[in-house]
Amino acid sequence: MEKRFITQASINRWLTKIVNDGKHLYAPVKKGDRVDFGRATSADDIVFDHIQTTQSAKSVAFPRTDVLFSYEKEKGKVQLENADLTAYPETVVFGLHPCDAAGFNPLGAIFNWDYKDEIYNARLQRTVVVTLACTKADEYCFCTSVNGGPGNTAGSDIQLTPVKDGFLAEILTEKGEALMKADEAAFEADRGDVKEEFLVKLPEKFDVKAVQEKLQTAFESPIWKAQSQRCIGCGACAYVCPTCACFDIQEDAHGTKGKRLRCWDSCGFALFTLHTSGHNPRQTQAQRWRQRLLHKFSYMPDRLSVRGCTGCGRCSRACPVDMNLSEHLSSI
């Protein structure tokens, strides 16, 4: 790993070079009164001082709707065409926080659990992740309770930490080094800034190991019903989550041709587990809420050795009825 220093002006120059090289720049941009990820055409579009974007950055590798393959029927024969893995744009995700970069680990674990998902992998392979370490947090943030942190570098190719008069740049991977070289002169020698001095201090809200331990025997607990009473069963929490990977398969059919699509889905929906027979193994919102928590904090650690939560707090910010995840976890 290499450390450098870069000024705001040099970042802007570097990003301009990246855009001019034909790469897609995906970054926090203003959307109405909110900040969310979107295509930035220049550094001027990018918001640097946001606490959290509305959505996570997962859609660079797992978009809300993705074509798996297309088909055409002609004279009794079916022509299949797989998604063109080489057509995905070279993308730089810039300005996401460490909790988002960390999300690609659990997401990747699911997409490579048994079957290696070529589409997810191809998209991520063409993506370079440049994180912005956190100098502020709000009451929803809890990365430090799930083994993350405001300066966590997991999943980052480059991490920038705002320091006095500029940014400390940690070049963490070969991908990151290649991206730096788009305009290496923009990066000055390390000034010896101590990263930790600039990071926000975020006390732990709960002991995640203890939570995981309790969940082992909590399947029949009455807490699920009590906690889920106000849950209205929408998918807002899942859709803004950096690690939620559930999807539905749909058919965009037009006569003899069509496309097979993968679209986001959520375990919070009643329809999610509804069988054709009419039976639904998760009939109540309490069961669906239990599934959400157990999946993230028990099943995934047990089966994939990763936790399905990075503490970004988006689910709690997005929830129309304030289902505050860290509060619920603390009360288990």
Binding site: Q55, R64, P320, D322
Partner: protein, 266 residues
């Protein structure tokens, strides 16, 4: 607030109701709470920040069961309750409808007429944030408006928070979940999103309480509540709808009367 807590405690203690649906303090804003014991009544709050439409819970069968419940209804929730009664989704004998007036007085309604009388005299809560956008939309040409809504709705990722937060979206199977035939493309894309939101607006026509819960619920902040807000005005003007009245079950878009002025159906 004390009066409301006292009332809730009394209702629970006397056994008149088994649950009170109200608001408690939340992380940043008040949130729904469900109280089954008089001891918990101290959690209840009610003030101008309590804008979420609690009537949405009245059709949640797993929450309500066969219980008799009390609800602290906001102005718009009262309208939703009238509409749910009109559509036979709830029964007044299973419900104690409470509100807190601008004068901080706890009111318990005995009949739908009482609710109507209250709604006609109480001030309609202003939604200042919407005013500027409504004016902007009204000043647009149809082409500009189409462009505005296409751009806004293209962002929708179909989490269906709008549907889940709406008291009138009580269907056990939503039209977007129908796949034989598939009326609405269920994935998220500009066209598929417009299909969804136009369908929702049409299904709300003549039923919407104009509470704004759909827009408030949207995690992306899309102003979708203004679609149905504009329709409330249209329906009021063209179908003599009164959102403050429980009616005999006639729906603006699905009831035909011989005296209707349109003749296309004859």
């Amino acid at each position: 607030m004390e009066e409301l807590r006292k009332k809730a405690a009394e209702l629970l203690q006397s056994g008149e109701v088994q649950m009170v649906i109200g608001y408690e303090e939340g992380t940043r804003h008040p949130r729904p709470c469900f109280i089954s014991s008089a001891d918990d009544a101290a959690k209840l709050i009610y003030d101008d920040r309590c804008t979420g439409n609690l009537a949405v819970y009245l059709t949640h069968k797993e929450l309500i069961g066969g219980q008799k419940i009390a609800i602290t209804a906001s102005y718009f929730a009262l309208r939703s309750i009238l509409r749910l009664l009109t559509e036979h989704q709830i029964q007044l004998d299973k419900l104690v409808v409470l509100t807190v007036s601008a004068e901080k007085e706890v009111i318990q309604f005995a009949t739908t007429d009482d609710i109507t009388a209250y709604l006609q005299t109480a001030p309609v809560p202003a939604r200042e944030d919407d005013k500027a956008l409504i004016e902007k939309l009204n000043a647009m040409s149809p082409a500009e408006r189409w462009e505005f809504w296409s751009a806004e709705l293209s962002k929708c990722f179909k989490c269906y928070a709008c549907r889940a937060a709406c008291p009138m979206c009580y269907c056990t199977k939503c039209i977007v979940e129908e796949n034989r035939p598939q009326w609405i493309q269920p994935w998220a894309s500009t066209l598929a999103n417009i299909e969804w939101h136009i369908n929702r607006a049409m299904h709300m026509t003549g039923r919407c309480a104009d509470c704004g819960a759909c827009g408030a619920a949207c995690p992306l902040g899309l102003p979708i509540h203004l679609l149905s807000h504009q329709i409330v005005q249209e329906v009021t003007d063209n179908f003599a709808l009164d959102v403050n009245q429980a009616v005999s079950g006639d729906n603006a878009l699905s009831t035909f009367k011989p005296e209707d002025k349109e003749n296309f159906i004859r």
